[in-house]
Symmetry: C3
Subunit: 270 residues, 3 copies
């Protein structure tokens, strides 16, 4: 089966299984993350207190850790939930929002990577470049931080961390260190709505919670957001803006079908 | 006056009084709760720090406690605000989100019930079944946890806790232990949007804040969300999804009238 | 250049500079604040932990402090970020949500004013009247709290605190203590959506982050929200409500142009 066929199958599994996805995430985009997870067919649950996260993640099929508005309290919750998920074989998806911008975020990302070991890390180019450089310092290997090539950065990081790495941007890159693919779906207006990155990470969580292949689940989440962004944009009137675009983005994820994935998906390599 | 007439009167009181409803609630759906309270005619205020909740609730006509993303800090704020509200005769509406899923939530719900004594508790069937079972353990009465019958669970719980109990689902049940009614409004798509339960609890808060009968206020909140869900769904185009549905849900609550309640309300018993 | 011309120039600067605006704000309206900042052309970042706010604000062009759902932890973060911003010459915009309602909010506002010294304070009449009265007690000057006249309150406060004061309402007042103007844009329905005040403060942050004149930036933020509110309302169908109004509000800010500011802006004085 080709890669779009596997993604379509993963979407089918989402609709049947309705995977519970535990999020420990920022309070800026949390409502959108919950709604996008519901729209695609998942079942989101948010809980961030140290006292309850291990219990909550035990019911889940995937765990999303997003460091967008973290604090000392939630960092510990993320580590505890992540370790429990790992122990139970539940995939952990890390969104290292703003890593490198502050010591707190950098240290949180470093700890989650070292102490938990995520199945997937999704970020933008600057975040992933920072992780690549940080990882150098941690692991003592030769620097990859100077590389301008996203593919090389992603593949090296995937090998070193033994996980799926996704760098989202105009052309998205997904790799597990062995296989690499590029996704050409999406639209620039997605960057004008806050949380489209966070929502993409939530979609990855839903797909990984319903499937067995984190590489496919990661591509599926990114591809779904890309196609939905294209469809949402295509339906706008000239006087519409990001208000209506956001409405249509949720509509498009809600109405996403295996047919649309097969006909509109633009994945190269894989 | 029949029950729909009393609900219509309660809506009229909301529009005239614009009751201030203090919320201590989760950060996932808080914006939607604020907007739905405003849309129906209430005045929401959110404040969760232990240092200010007693002052804030003193200005309010109702207090909504929602344990969706609670933590050690906010549990104490809920108890303190709840006790102050009780002392001042202000109705407390409890939404025990996820009770039974984790010890933290169960313990928080137990403490709010025992130490505060809510006027209304609204949850889904599994939450209310859990409360019924928990209450057994607390109160030492015969088990009702095995009962499959929502009505019996609700009525027993209402009598034991001396409050209004609402179980929302396909057919909603509301009882004060003496009178019981069923509400048949609503649409399945409401379950595809995060926070429609939380928003229903906020609407109950607004109605109870403007009226004097918590039983009627509870029915009114649930009925309003049900009618609004039907109207929102009826106005959708085939390509619409939960994005546009949510927009129309707020529109429908904003435009809800006593006429619509009287013509569209489907309340049985009461 | 007249005042509308200066505002149009400030909007042009926003589009070119895309200023980063650091927010420490409430969790009720934070998503809307992020989206409105993006929609006008800014770049929002939210971070509230004491450990990271000084680093984060160092990258920013403006800092928005909103005390809407503050707590003991975030108050300290606001003070620390505010002091750092001041040190670096970054304008601090204070939204004293609910000041006077509780001691916690009053004390937080007092500390931010005394220890940080905001460039701009925006609130509604009752908040600003409270600040005026509080300031009296702090500074020991004759009472202005009895004055019914918003202009006098605003001008006195601006002189005493050496900052721009904005009182928003039906007719908005902006003053730096020397110059004063009134803005007649806006629509009553803006008060039916939660967070339009917070969003206005965020827009002020974006404008001040791109321009050099806080007085003009403050007028620009308020005027933009007012014009967008008018345009959003004008586009509504009779069956629409606050759901669609909010969508159109974001669309209107996204599509705001210098032409619309020049043709629709109603600023008196200046």
């Amino acid at each position: 089966m080709d890669i779009l066929g596997m993604i379509a199958e993963n979407l089918q599994a989402v609709k049947e299984k309705r995977p519970l996805v535990h999020h420990i995430t920022n309070y800026v985009t949390v409502n959108d993350c919950a709604n996008i997870a519901l729209a695609i067919g998942g079942s989101p649950v948010m809980a961030d207190d140290r006292e309850e996260v291990e219990e909550m993640v035990s019911f889940a099929s995937a765990l999303v850790l997003n460091i967008g508005t973290l604090n000392a309290r939630t960092v510990e919750s993320m580590i505890a939930a992540g370790k429990k998920a790992k122990e139970l074989g539940i995939p952990v998806i890390l969104d290292p929002v703003g890593v490198g911008a502050t010591k707190l975020r950098t240290e949180a990302a470093r700890r989650i990577i070292e102490e938990v070991g995520p199945a997937v890390i999704r970020g933008n180019m600057s975040e992933m470049k920072f992780l690549a450089g940080m990882n150098v310092a941690i692991k003592g290997v030769d620097s990859v931080a100077d590389e301008q090539d996203g593919q090389a950065i992603a593949e090296n990081l995937a090998k070193q961390l033994n996980c799926v790495i996704a760098i989202t941007g105009k052309r998205d890159i997904v790799t597990d260190g062995q296989k690499t693919c590029f996704i050409d779906n999406g639209h620039e207006i997605l960057s004008k709505v806050t949380g489209t990155g966070c929502m993409t990470t939530s979609l990855i969580g839903v797909y990984c919670g319903a499937g067995k292949d984190w590489y496919i689940g990661t591509i599926a989440g990114i591809l779904s957001m890309g196609i939905a962004g294209e469809l949402a944009q295509a339906g706008l009137a000239p006087t519409d803006g990001i208000g209506m675009f956001k409405v249509r983005l949720f509509d498009s994820i809600y109405n996403l079908s295996t047919e649309k994935i097969l006909s509109k998906g633009r994945v190269i390599g894989g």
